[in-house]
């Protein structure tokens, strides 16, 4: 039992944190106070968690294998475009409509697509993602680019490519260049209305499969080994180049799945803004979930809980301050990543006995943290923004300043002793 607790302390800690944050939000937020509202909130959280969770799994596999994949956000936009682009290309013409410039031509009929069309589009999109992953693997193993560079190129390149493609595809099907595609198909729009569970099912099934892969197969063990010590893995006769191929393809394909689901939920794909910055959310979920960016460490359960924790905190901040979730997303993700990683590294060394504010840098950061606390309070207050901001900022300054002074006294005593 004790061993179980120790081995899974990371996962258990996250689960406890999720319960705690949810409870706090439930107490203080109106959204939870009606039965229907509660169910609705839970559905939305599960859906968002699952969406993030799906491509966080891919990001985590690459991180565990000792690499990094920065391309997932753009790949979400790209795969949404490919998926919807394929739909309108394959859809039959709707004879009741006419092109503005050419009355002989018709718009595609996307209202009642026969089932094979989305199925084919899905396969094509996943195929394209496989090619993207293979391209990354080639750049990294053969051309020997650092993973950061190879996938950074895709991060900027793929979104741009999607925006170019959508122009041409819409020109072919609608006779005019557009930067978005909207689909009205019954099946797909039903996903956005009551299909919150679709992404959850995809997420859970994918997690189970990848858990099996990582913790119960030879390939999984080799992925951990490569992440921990790549040279030793190669010299143990492990084909590290093939493992990287696998890892980057899993990452790309999970991002593509997420991209397809996002497109379906929204009903419109718009590559200029879809999935913007999501690659960092995925990496954050993996890191909060206990993956080490140095490679070789991390679990699927941890990544699942990491994604859930991120979404729960983003949601609860938005609820408590009655604001749009996406406004707070960056701040929340940023803080959680710093806290999670700091917590993990402090647990290993000295813990809270460590001196936090040494020297000039320490003093400067007392000011920075106090300022941050003040600004955060100010932007989240409904009224009297200046007063609350100053109040919280100054009290933080007093507390942290006191800590800094106490540390200095303690270290001086330590020297004298």
């Amino acid at each position: 039992m004790g061993e179980f607790l120790h081995k899974h302390r990371n996962e258990l800690g996250l689960a406890a944190a999720i319960v705690f944050v949810t409870a706090v939000t439930a107490v203080f937020s109106d959204a939870y106070h009606s039965g229907e509202g509660r169910i609705e909130v839970a559905r939305i959280i599960f859906r968002d968690t699952a969406m993030l969770g799906i491509f966080a799994l891919g990001a985590a596999i690459v991180i565990i294998a000792g690499g990094i994949d920065l391309s997932s956000g753009s790949l979400i936009a790209f795969s949404g475009t490919v998926f919807f682009g394929m739909l309108i290309l394959l859809a039959p013409d709707d004879p009741t409509t006419r092109w503005a410039g050419d009355p002989e031509r018709h718009f595609p009929d996307t209202e009642n697509l026969s089932l094979w069309i989305p199925a084919a589009a899905l396969l094509v999109t996943l195929g394209v993602a496989f090619l993207v992953g293979s391209f990354h693997a080639w750049l990294i193993t053969v051309i020997e680019l650092p993973p950061f560079v190879a996938t950074l190129a895709s991060l900027v390149g793929l979104r741009s490519l999607a925006r170019l493609l959508i122009q041409d595809v819409t020109a072919i099907e609608y006779g005019q260049r557009q930067s978005t595609i909207t689909i009205n198909d019954e099946l797909l729009t039903s996903i956005s209305r009551e299909g919150w569970w679709v992404s959850c099912v995809v997420w859970v099934v994918l997690s189970a499969a990848l858990w099996l892969l990582l913790s119960r197969t030879v390939v999984g063990r080799h992925l951990y080994a490569m992440g921990g010590n790549e040279e030793a893995a190669r010299l143990s006769g492990i084909r590290t180049d093939r493992l990287k191929w696998l890892a980057y393809c899993i990452s790309s394909m999970t991002a593509a799945l997420a991209g397809i689901l996002y497109a379906c939920y929204i009903g419109t794909t718009s590559p200029a803004t879809d999935g913007m910055g999501y690659e960092l959310n995925a990496i954050a979920a993996a890191v909060v979930g206990g993956c080490s960016l140095a490679g070789g460490i991390g679990t699927i359960a941890g990544v699942m809980l990491g994604a859930m924790f991120l979404r729960v905190v983003i949601d609860s901040v938005a609820k408590l301050f009655r604001s749009q979730p996406d406004l707070f997303e960056g701040v929340v993700v940023g803080m959680l990543v710093v806290l999670a990683v700091a917590f993990n590294s402090l647990r290993g060394r000295g813990g809270l006995k460590k001196q936090f504010f040494p020297g000039t840098l320490g003093l400067l950061n007392v000011l920075i943290l106090s300022g941050l606390a003040g600004v955060m309070t100010s932007v989240t207050s409904q009224d009297d923004k200046l007063r609350y901001g100053l109040l919280v900022g100054l009290s933080t300054l007093v507390i942290l300043g006191g800590k800094a002074v106490a540390e200095r006294i303690a270290s001086r005593r330590g020297e004298a002793a």
Partner: protein
């Protein structure tokens, strides 16, 4: 040899320069040091010896400020100290030269010596002044190193002297050396000892950690033996013997077994003809040139040579892990092979244990079980999934077979001593059931007791019919282990000796020989 007697005679009266009083250090699950008390006299050469895992390195890390938290007390020059970092220790006049050197490879040797306390003029780095001072330090050490050369271009022996020069420039009068000769060639060891002897004459107190008897008995005034974290005894060198020290270290007599007796080689298993390894962009063009030899079943062949002679490269060619593709012919068990990846070598049942265990062998974040089964995990599967039960059984079998000392298959591999870590890596490869086993300096950083165990393991494997090629930086080891020794010099095979011809002197002659001598030609391939 210099005379340390005047130093030690005078040292009797003065108060100890370093006093260690009841120091205990616990790591999770292990007591690395158990109530150790030790006095070091001013100006003495004090050897600290013990098997790996005996606590030597831990003690030295406490003295040099690397480990700040421990129980007990340390006094330097009579004053209690508690170092919280190497800087503190340096300020108290203690410098340490670690087993693994702490140098920034891209920087010049002068920049490394003055790292963290660079000389400046007008706010800019004054490279000239630093190089000038570095040069004069090197002169004091009687060695010829260009202070402007990046450290990575220097040999390991020279790199070590840079650390010593750094200690000198810090005006340290207590120098701790942690197994300084483990990566050096014989001639570099000689030079190092000249330098150390000179420092000793100048009155520097030297704490010398080693488990090599030759080195311990060369200069020491006193010898302290540690075993299992406890101090066994401090002895005066003149009143003890190698036999006694070895006995105290191991806690039992090591029978000097004559290996190789009664072994008889079988059919050839590996045949190498005109093997060459290109060296692009280098004046020498070839890392290895025209090497031909054969290996038989049930035979241990040693590869001797100085550092840079190409021992490791030759093994890498046979294992398919060399950076460039070798030219020439390699015939394994009657079939010509050309491995381009270690996995192909593994499939053809060639195994290799690499030289640098930490960098190329161990998976530090994994446990003993996972480290042992790394190459053969597919045998512990059931329906495509790994069966932990089977895997554990496989690991336990190896732990028993090689006598790995650990708390069990789930122990973190980093909690094991160097010798036991090495056994895990060897076990990993033995599980692949190899026909040819390549061992690159397998006993490096392994203590006396574990070494003897490794010798026995190698001998037993050989008798089972494996063909084994082994390299070593210690010639006596090759002479003990091998049936034949091949000597390399600058990438060429300069000599081949059979057991009756073995002598350190002959091997060294071949190892420093510039032109190729027609070695006894390998018997015809088809024999």
């Amino acid at each position: 040899m210099p005379q340390p007697t005047q130093n030690s005679a005078g040292a009797k009266e003065v108060s100890p320069i370093v006093q260690v009083e009841s120091v205990t250090k616990r790591f999770p699950g292990v007591v690395a040091l158990d109530d150790v008390s030790l006095h070091v006299r001013r100006g003495e050469f004090h050897a600290i010896c013990g098997e790996n895992g005996a606590g030597k390195s831990t003690l030295m890390k406490i003295l040099s400020g690397v480990i700040p938290d421990y129980e007990g007390r340390v006094l330097v020059r009579g004053r209690p100290v508690r170092f919280s970092g190497t800087r503190d220790a340096e300020a108290a006049g203690i410098s340490i030269i670690h087993q693994e050197l702490n140098l920034v490879e891209q920087l010049s040797s002068a920049a490394n010596i003055f790292l963290g306390r660079e000389k400046t003029s007008l706010g800019l780095l004054d490279d000239r002044a630093m190089e000038r001072e570095a040069r004069s330090l090197f002169e004091q050490l009687d060695c010829d190193i260009n202070p402007a050369r990046p450290v990575r271009e220097l040999r390991v022996g020279d790199q070590q002297l840079i650390e010593i020069a750094k200690a000198l420039s810090l005006e340290s009068d207590i120098l701790i050396m942690d197994e300084p000769t483990s990566a050096l060639t014989e001639s570099e060891v000689e030079r190092l000892f000249r330098v150390v002897a000179r420092l000793h004459e100048q009155g520097v107190t030297i704490l010398y950690i080693s488990h090599k008897m030759d080195e311990i008995f060369r200069l020491s005034d006193r010898i302290t033996v540690l075993r299992d974290g406890k101090l066994v005894r401090t002895l005066d060198r003149r009143e003890t013997s190698r036999r006694e020290v070895t006995h105290l270290m191991v806690g039992r007599e090591i029978e000097s077994v004559e290996f190789g007796g009664g072994r008889s080689a079988g059919d050839p298993i590996l045949y190498v003809e005109k093997l060459s390894l290109p060296w692009p962009g280098h004046a020498r063009q070839w890392r290895l040139e025209n090497i031909s030899f054969e290996l038989r079943r049930g035979e241990v062949v040693g590869l001797a040579g100085l550092m840079g002679a190409g021992r490791t490269e030759l093994l890498e060619c046979l294992f398919g892990s060399s950076d460039e593709r070798p030219q020439g012919k390699i015939v394994l068990d009657g079939k010509e092979v050309a491995f381009s990846h270690p996995s192909e070598a593994k499939a053809a049942r060639v195994a290799m244990v690499n030289e640098d265990r930490k960098q190329f062998g161990l998976f530090a974040q994994m446990n003993v079980r996972e480290n042992i089964t790394m190459c053969t995990l597919d045998r512990s599967t059931q329906g495509g999934l790994v069966s932990t039960r089977r895997e554990r059984a496989a690991a336990l079998e190896s732990i028993d077979q090689l006598g790995v000392r650990c708390s069990g298959p789930e122990a973190a591999v980093t909690s094991l001593s160097g010798g036991n870590q090495q056994k895990c890596v060897i076990a990993r490869w033995l599980k692949t059931d190899p026909k040819v086993l390549l061992l690159d300096d397998p006993t490096r950083g392994v203590d006396v007791g574990a070494k003897a165990e490794l010798y026995k393991i190698i001998d037993a494997l050989c008798r089972k019919g494996l063909g084994i090629i082994v390299t070593s930086s210690e010639l006596p080891e090759l002479i003990t282990l091998c049936d034949r020794i091949l000597v390399l010099c600058e990438g060429r095979l300069t000599g081949q000796l059979t057991r009756p011809e073995f002598s350190e002197q002959r091997i060294m002659e071949y190892a420093t020989m510039r032109e190729v001598v027609p070695s006894s030609p390998p018997d015809a391939a088809g024999e």
